[in-house]
Symmetry: C2
Subunit: 248 residues, 2 copies
């Protein structure tokens, strides 16, 4: 089975400076996996034309879908549209449909030059509608260009999801145990070797206040039909090691 | 002035699946900028040897410092150490110092094979001590290899910061205004053109409940000695447009 893959490009100095927390990529990630699309990479990059250009091109070649967030507003530091145009060697021009949408939206006399900037897109861009603040994003080739403001981005992204090819959702089961990770590590390794079509992740946690710790074991697979046999083996292994197990 | 640069490699399928929220890169980002180190890129990648290897090498060549998080625990899915060794064509071997630390830490008979795995590092690795759960990270060339658990990673990272070359902290001033972004966009652009040694970022926000919105204007510079003149121009511009301004 050929997987449908995706990459996310988060564009913004404000994330790299630590000023802003990127919540967008986690939102997109969760929704992609539920819809059978495998997110393979997230890259957070500076507001620099040459860097955006190169990253867009590289991701567009590597993944089925690329989602960019940030840099499509009205100010001088919003340079995603021109960078994407440049990446694909497309002319940058006023998108007539976007122009009409915004012209209609703003009170007469308030559709100023900065607002008009938001209608300038690569030639041939298809609009992604914005039900929140109207200014649209766009799609060109396999690249979906979205704004950075989470409330707006989320609505637009969910709309995109309705309209793209999806795959078989990844099967995922999480087993929690109170055993230490290093106690079960070698057994988990054996079980992983037995079931090569799934991946078994091991995520320890420890609460420094309650002093309670344990491991979440995550079994996941894009192509198995059931994870039950793996789940059974892991639960038996935990019991043999006198641990508690809970499928969560 | 030559800037000191950095990149972060977040290694982990659990971030790409949306299961885990990456808080580590924001923590590192905030601390780097305060210490005069410019974070230029964050990349979140899969637990795959060839991908980790390639990314480590690429970041090591591009940036002064590279910080990796995740994948140095005792389980089979922890493959960062072998990937980093492979990137630098170093032998993978038991680090004697790490071995002694862990052997001393665990009760007799409990220093099992999985725990011993955490002492296997690239030849020539320097240890990064772990004051929380003892198992150390390591440094090789300009790459600092850290665990993924935030409470542990944070302590170890702050320790590293004490011991690496830092630069002049970036000057940053934030001015908040109640004006709409598109109202001030062209004026901000003019001010940006006047002061080429700083970067002026514009971050609009809107609360959909209170219906209150505005813009945070962030002036920042790695090489100016003061941002006061820029700040003054922006505040005057806001006043001319009948807006309120507040340096926050």
């Amino acid at each position: 089975m050929k997987l449908i893959t995706a990459g996310i490009l988060v564009i913004g100095d404000e994330i790299l400076s630590g000023r802003t927390y990127d919540t967008n990529s986690n939102f997109i990630a969760k929704n992609l996996i539920k819809n059978g699309i495998k997110l393979e990479e997230i890259k957070i990059i500076q507001d620099k034309l040459t860097i955006i250009e190169k990253s867009v091109l590289n991701f567009s070649n590597k993944y089925n879908y690329v989602f960019t967030t940030g840099g499509i507003g009205p100010t001088h530091d919003d340079i995603t549209s021109e960078s994407v145009a440049s990446a694909f060697k497309k002319k940058l021009e006023v998108n007539n449909e976007a122009y009409k949408i915004l012209e209609k939206y703003y009170p007469k006399g308030q559709f100023n030059k900065s607002r008009q900037k938001m209608t300038i897109m690569p030639e041939g861009a298809e609009l992604i509608y914005n039900p929140v603040t109207v200014a649209p994003g766009f799609k060109i080739k396999n690249v979906f260009v979205l704004p950075g403001v989470p409330k707006i981005m989320e609505k637009m992204f969910l709309e995109i999801l309705n309209n793209i090819q999806k795959g078989k959702p990844k099967l995922i089961t999480t087993i929690n145990t109170d055993l230490y990770e290093s106690k079960i590590a070698s057994f988990l390794n054996d079980i992983q070797k037995k079931y090569k079509d799934c991946s078994i992740g091991s995520y320890p946690y420890f609460n420094f206040v309650s002093k309670i710790g344990g491991v979440n074991i995550v079994i996941s697979s894009w192509n198995m039909n059931s994870l039950k046999p793996v789940e059974k083996d892991i639960i038996e292994m935990i019991q043999l090691n006198s641990g508690k197990s809970l499928v969560v």
